[in-house]
Amino acid sequence: MTMSKTLIRGAKVLGGDVQDVLIDGGTIAEVGTGLSAEGATVIEADGQILLPGLVDLHTHLREPGREDSETVLTGTRAAASGGYTAVFAMANTHPVADTAGVVEQVYRLGKESGYCDVQPIGAVTVGLEGKKLAELGAMHDSAAGVTVFSDDGKCVDDAVIMRRALEYVKAFGGVVAQHAQEPRLTEGAQMNEGVVSAELGLGGWPAVAEESIIARDVLLAEHVGSRVHICHLSTAGSVEIVRWAKSRGIDVTAEVTPHHLLLTDELVRSYNPVYKVNPPLRTEKDVLALREALADGTIDIVATDHAPHPHEDKDCEWAAAAMGMVGLETALSVVQRTMVETGLLDWAGVADRMSFAPARIGRAQGHGRPVSAGEPANLTLVDPAYRGVVDPADFASRSRNTPYEGRELPGRVTHTFLRGRATVVDGKLA
């Protein structure tokens, strides 16, 4: 890394006052007005928004095992394009990231990519099978330093296993991130259970299958004095349970995906599998409750659940299609549309929900830090006035399964800095 200087001139830091930010090497050297540009590359921000580099607590990078849909390299390039400087890589790879060996491999691939930091998530149970605890301590003690554990894609549905996992990771400050899905209630589930599923004749995924697990897990967390994180919370009922848990002082955090903030199950009427995702798209009422909850802090963070799939896994009938959507490159735009433009959140709030809070939950070192002198220069510059139509052909991700194709979304990441080095310049990967 060349220890060069960069001056970002005239940026609204966290959407506030217009300031200059001088980056020297990997660090923010100075924040102020009228800073000297001597010896520095100058970026005229022209009132664009400067945020701390975004942190995604829920990314599927697919490597090892499904390199046809994404690799650590393509996934981190997509992340940088979307303004991210750190991503947490989910454990449901092939082989599963349930040993120190696999998490170290993913960690090393992230280091080599250079586009954003990759923090592997370890599986809670061996093979994601929900039966036997994986070597959580060994993964934590490995070079990857795993602190977040999840069987995501599958729910840790056995109450005893979940209780033990919650207790066990306390020894090293870990957290279990639960994919809340009661398996028996969701056998054959294809979409949200309700008015639309009744008409379309697609198997229902009832809200109660998510809510009952969340209710159980917050009570377990309270009982054993652990913290628990809820992945991709998707229903109004889940919001109420988490709100209640927080009011009791239970150490629970929760995430919402961009797509659950914007899209509803009405889209499934097209039978287009690009809208097939788990948990499924819910109703308008749920969408509004999720936005409210993200605004008032009941939901702590936005996480993408970026889930790349090859074209053929979506170019088929609904029942045969894979679940999931890519999200890294559209997340900030969707949050701007659903939260900022609706007046629910200001840019400082966006910085909190997409950088400070996820870094705190995942214990990501050097990320989610204030934009001030002496801090690591992990930064994202956003042009909120930009309007563009989503074209998947522009994606850096290897996969194209976006539900936003052809939609106009606001905002664009113009620059991303990872420890002072530009990974994105003028909207293009560096």
């Binding site: 309700g194 599923s197 008409e199 697609l202 039978y271 029942a319 045969a320």
Partner: protein, 327 residues
């Protein structure tokens, strides 16, 4: 007329009445010594069956042959279909072969809609039953049967089913027949009541244009037609109901229950019937039961649908209304 027939909900009242009237014309063809019309001569129709259904396939095939179409039967059950890609591959193969229409049966809800809208194929698509979604020609043949019996074969021409009280009994949750019938019967002005154990009624049914009751005996005296839906015995293994015997006792139709229906009321069943469980042999074999008629009417309805979707834009096609017998 529309280009495809995917869902009964897509039909307007006038579309539906036109199909029923055309089916009456087609039924006359069946009464002639030579049961063939030249309408679709030189046109190729593929019956694309990803799910076994000999009855429905034979019905479509008979309809196609009576209209002089060339018929390709493609049964794709099993191995290759487990991967969804084969629907697209098969569609593109048929497109390359210049097929003029595709009749599709598929175990996945929405597969015909996908086929019609994905750009994989240009030809009209006719849904012959998809998953637990729709089976529009079944609903049309049921409506045709009801109109003949409750309004009259000649008196019914141009008419809908306004004010008729239709009761559907059984496994609504897993039934494409129920969904199609609710949509079409509502469009035709009938009053529909669904009767089932609450476990077999879908969450979200409240927006359907019908009533829901759990009390068969209360509904029977107010029914002009009672349609018994097929109930698979295996459902009791998933706790939808406790035993076959209890199901029969609460929701089965036997002679005693049939006597509670008005004198003119008919009993219908989409077939194949499970005698003993949802319907007793006494009821199934009575002259109020229209099961055999429904089969015959199915051919007429499918001829009408094929004729209207494919024949209408063909200048030299023979219109059945202009044949000797029907003048």
């Amino acid at each position: 007329m529309m280009r495809h027939l995917i869902s009964a909900a897509d039909l307007t009242r006038d579309d539906a009445v036109q199909i029923l009237d055309t089916a009456e014309e087609m039924a006359r063809v069946a009464d002639r010594p030579i049961k063939k019309l030249p309408t679709l001569r030189g046109r190729t129709i593929c019956n694309l069956f990803f799910e076994d259904s000999t009855r429905t396939r034979i019905s479509f095939e008979a309809a196609e042959k009576r209209l002089s179409a060339d018929v390709i039967n493609f049964a794709a059950k099993g191995s290759s279909v487990s991967k969804g890609e084969s629907l697209k591959d098969t569609a593109q193969t048929l497109e390359a072969m210049g097929v003029d229409a595709v009749v599709i049966r598929h175990s996945a809800s929405g597969a015909p809609y996908r086929l019609a809208t994905s750009g994989w194929i240009d030809a009209p698509v006719i849904n012959a039953g998809d998953g637990t979604h729709q089976h529009p020609t079944q609903a049309l043949l049921d409506a045709f049967t009801m109109r003949r019996r409750l309004v009259g074969r000649d008196a019914g021409l141009g008419q809908d089913l306004a004010g008729k009280r239709i009761t559907l009994v059984g496994d609504v949750l897993h039934s494409r027949v129920a969904r199609s019938n609710v949509d079409l019967l509502h469009t035709l002005g009938a009053e529909v009541t669904l009767v089932a154990p609450p476990t077999l009624v879908p969450v979200g049914v409240e927006t359907w244009p019908c009533d829901v009751s759990y009390d068969l005996d209360g509904v029977l005296p107010k029914s002009d037609a009672v349609m018994m839906l097929r109930v698979q015995r295996e459902r009791m293994n998933a706790a939808f109901f406790p035993t076959e015997r209890e199901y029969s006792r609460r929701y089965g139709l036997d002679g005693e229950r049939m006597a509670k229906m008005p004198e003119h009321a008919i009993v219908m069943h989409p077939g194949p019937m499970v005698r003993g469980m949802e319907i007793t042999a006494e009821v199934a074999d009575s002259d109020r039961c229209t099961v055999v008629e429904q089969v015959a009417n199915g051919v007429s309805i499918r001829m009408a649908v094929l004729y209207l979707l494919l024949g209408g834009n063909d200048s030299d096609s023979a219109t059945p209304a202009r044949t000797e017998e029907s003048k």
